[in-house]
């Protein structure tokens, strides 16, 4: 005769100093959204887990006009959460803000580790706020910004009004390079609708695991491809911005090194190149674009021809490295035979505002970012073969012991031999929750796993996965 209420969802909000979290929290505490939310500002990100009960000097709690409460806890998060549950009508949501530089990992893990909390609370999502104006600078200087992105289920890319579209595209690409599964919302003044932030359900193993399909694809050397129908003649390929001919120094024309691009930064270059491949295709259609992928991969493997500003791209199929150091750079794409052509770019053209003047792609598609500028990256594995449960446990156990600290997030849907139901798991720093979800039924059985972490080795993870595959 026991009534088991559903658990209260908890959102963990993290983000760098000045990213705009306070603005979001103030909205939650003042807007008439009709929800009862307890906001906990957990300074220093310390929690009362098993081995440490910490408390600071101050704990303040106040109730706001819209029925929410805000509490500053410099210390025992577990105690305050327990106390918040001693009410006859519960809160609809709990939002825990980990301040400043704090790593959201320990706070999130608490909800897997503490038996009392596990009973009453359900970790809903880790939301990371990113300051678009300072992200690129911060992520190069410090570890925390990339880590906070790595942990996220949802990234709020804030202050979008302070940077241009090219920068936003670059930042998004960088974020996806770190965390291939997080959803990204662009915001200004933290203006995201509150119900997009709360009740995301990222940890709800009963909700379908949403993983961007593109993310699980093999890694290509390009992030974007498009097909165009082009007439014969010269076509102008331009980047965004005003081009100032007078400041255009031509020293870089002396560069004649081999652009065998294999990812990474542009060390040693005093200018910036963008690799691209142009090749003729059967028609200006999505199907023709897909057919062109293989040949494009082969073309990218060939040495690139450097094309300076105002230079020409005139041999096809070919691999070029166009010099995009200066804004408003332009290049001439020379077409001798009218027809359909595919253009594949190393980076998404939006990052440079790159476009073919007077022509729009008839079809285009994005590919997963493969450029890992950061040592934190996402690795996805997609494979239909059923897994042996004992060997799977052995592999995950081994992974936990050897790489646990380096893996920030881990999610997956598994096809386990002998199991009719999808086996779903989801974790933070190797604390994970797994359960059997709905039956596969007629759906194709496929394993889909994602690992987000530091210094991860794809080959190592794939070998581990291979060891778990059931021998038929």
């Amino acid at each position: 005769m026991s009534v088991t209420p559903s658990r209260v969802p908890v959102t963990v909000l993290t983000g760098f100093l000045g990213s705009g979290k306070t603005t979001l929290l103030n909205r939650i505490l003042s807007e008439k959204h009709g929800k009862r939310i307890a906001v906990i500002e957990n300074e220093f990100g310390e929690v009362g887990v098993d081995s440490e009960l910490v408390i600071g000097a101050e704990e303040e709690l106040f109730e706001t006009n819209n029925g929410c409460i805000c509490c500053t806890v410099r210390g025992d998060l577990i105690r305050i959460l327990g106390q918040l549950m001693k009410r006859r009508d519960r809160f609809d949501y709990i939002l825990i803000e980990t301040t400043g530089m704090a790593d959201p990992g320990p706070v999130a893990q608490t909800f897997f580790l503490d038996d009392e909390l596990k009973n009453q609370f359900q970790l809903d999502a880790i939301v990371t706020m990113v300051d678009a104006k300072h992200f690129e600078q911060h992520v190069d200087e410090l570890n925390e910004p990339a880590e906070q992105v790595a942990f996220a289920d949802l990234v709020l890319l804030n202050k979008t009004d302070l940077v241009d579209d090219a920068a936003l595209a670059r930042i998004e690409s960088r974020i996806r390079g770190i965390n291939g599964t997080a959803r990204i919302h662009r915001t200004r003044n933290a203006d995201v609708p509150i119900d997009k932030v709360l009740n995301v359900g990222a940890f709800d193993l009963n909700r379908a695991l949403v993983v961007d399909e593109a993310f699980l694809e093999p890694e290509y050397p390009f992030e974007w491809g498009g097909v165009y129908q082009l007439a014969a003649g010269d076509h102008l390929l331009k980047t965004a911005g005003e081009h100032d001919h007078h400041s255009h120094d031509h020293e870089h024309h002396d560069h004649d090194h081999d652009h065998g691009h294999d990812g990474g930064g542009h060390e040693g270059h005093s200018h910036e190149d963008l690799d691209l491949v142009v090749l003729p295709v059967a028609s200006a259609s999505a199907a023709a674009l897909s057919d062109a992928i293989e040949p494009a991969v082969r073309a990218f493997a060939e040495p690139a021809t450097v094309v300076p500003c105002h230079g020409a791209l005139d041999e096809m199929p070919a691999h070029y490295a166009i010099d995009v150091s200066h804004p408003g750079a332009d290049f001439r794409l020379k077409i001798t035979r009218p027809g359909a052509y595919a253009l594949f770019c190393e980076h998404h053209p939006a990052e440079f505002g790159l476009h073919l003047h007077g022509a729009k792609p008839a079809a285009e598609r994005k590919f997963a970012s493969h450029h890992h500028q950061d040592d934190i990256s996402s690795i996805g594995i997609s494979d239909p073969r059923p897994l042996d449960p004992a060997k799977l446990n052995q592999w995950l156990d081994y992974l936990l012991k050897t790489r646990g600290q380096d893996i920030f997030r881990m999610k997956g849907v598994l096809n386990v031999k002998g199991e009719d139901r999808r086996q779903v798991f989801h974790g933070v720093h190797m604390m994970f929750d797994a359960q059997a979800e709905r039956p596969w039924g007629q759906a194709p059985r496929v394993n889909r796993l994602v690992f987000i972490g530091r210094g991860l080795d794809r080959a190592e993870l794939e070998a581990g996965f291979e060891s778990a595959v059931a021998k038929s």
Partner: protein, 345 residues
């Protein structure tokens, strides 16, 4: 009926009261005629439970009451709350005597000395002693971690403090504040002196129960609990140590050579977590209250089955015997308070 019959007991509901809050805890007056009731949302109630049953709200602690303790030998009780305040209440008049904020951190635990002369409080890392009128007597040096529980020993000469990695025992007799530390790695959640003074026990966050022999200093660890051991209590005669981390209550028998190497008595019956239990003062019964809405009465000697089971209307948050061991107050999370009489059948 032929032959001797052993007496059996049951709990008979005497009456219920409605408290306008989550009933977090309650404390009996020494004469058993009143109950102080502490609410999770912050209400403080005073109930009379002698001839008539009545309850009224007499005050609040903003956003939640954390502890309530009745002063021995007096008609006064103390409460502490999430607002950071400690309050003293006159139970005869039903009014507040004093309210003060000792520190910014909220006072999580309260304990009166057995003679009613000192009130010990734990706020953050600091344990303080106050006179019966709320004047500060002493503040101990801040501990290295949060003090989560307090208890005086039966004579009232020592006070034990549960901390991370140790139980600190401060001598308070004649104001000699020497400290002895009982160390064990792990977060100590409770501090429990046996009545005879021989043992000190603590429920640990790592799912074990730890206890020390106070004269030899020897310690022992009992493992196998389902989770954090947050409920611990000695029977009045110091024979049994009850402990719980889930649906079961585990009793260790300290008679003879002690519990090491023995199998404990396990009280099974609750179908959901036991959130409160209490040993009968001057007797051998244990009452347990669970999330399964079940109130159970047990005797260690007859541990296979509860002596009696009563169902209430919601999850039980607090069970407390009256000082004379004849009644049990049962508080529910939805605010009902039921007083049961112990009757022989």
């Amino acid at each position: 009926m032929a032959g001797k019959q052993s007496l059996s007991f049951a709990l008979e509901p005497r009456g219920t009261l409605s408290f306008d809050d989550y009933l977090a805890d309650c404390a009996w007056s020494p004469d058993g005629r009143q109950l102080a009731v502490a609410g999770g949302e912050g209400n403080i109630g005073l109930a009379s439970v002698s001839d008539t049953l009545a309850l009224r709200n007499i005050g609040t602690h903003l956003l939640g009451t954390l502890a309530v303790a009745w002063q021995p030998r007096a008609q006064c009780f103390a409460t502490s709350g999430q607002d950071g305040a400690i309050a003293l209440w006159d139970a005869a008049a039903g009014t507040q005597l004093k309210r003060w904020k000792p520190a910014v951190a909220a006072t999580q635990a309260l304990a009166w000395s057995p003679d009613g002369q000192l009130l010990a409080t734990a706020a953050g890392k600091v344990v303080s002693l106050w006179s019966a009128s709320g004047d500060k007597v002493h503040a101990f040096a801040p501990a290295a971690s949060t003090a989560v529980a307090l208890a005086f020993d039966r004579p009232g000469s020592d006070i034990g403090v549960a901390l991370n990695g140790e139980i600190a025992v401060h001598r308070v007799e004649k104001s000699r504040y020497e400290t002895r530390r009982y160390k064990w790695p792990g977060a100590c959640l409770t501090v429990n002196f046996s009545g005879n003074g021989r043992f000190l026990a603590s429920g640990m966050a790592d799912g074990s129960l730890h206890f020390w022999n106070r004269s030899t200093g020897k310690d022992s660890q009992m493992r196998g609990y389902d989770g954090k051991v947050q409920l611990v209590g000695w029977s009045d005669n110091s024979r049994y140590l009850a402990s719980s981390a889930g649906n079961e209550v585990v009793l260790w028998d300290f008679s003879g050579r002690g519990p090491e190497g023995t199998k404990p008595i396990v009280l099974s019956g609750h179908t959901d977590r036991v959130d409160s239990f209490h040993w009968q003062p001057g007797g051998e019964h244990l009452v347990t209250g669970g999330r399964d809405w079940r109130l159970s009465l047990w005797r260690p000697a007859k541990a296979g089955q509860p002596v009696d089971v009563q169902m209430v209307d919601a999850e039980i948050s607090a069970v407390r015997w009256s000082p004379d061991g004849k009644r049990v107050a049962v508080g529910e999370k939805q605010g009902r308070l039921t007083v049961f009489d112990l009757v022989a059948r």
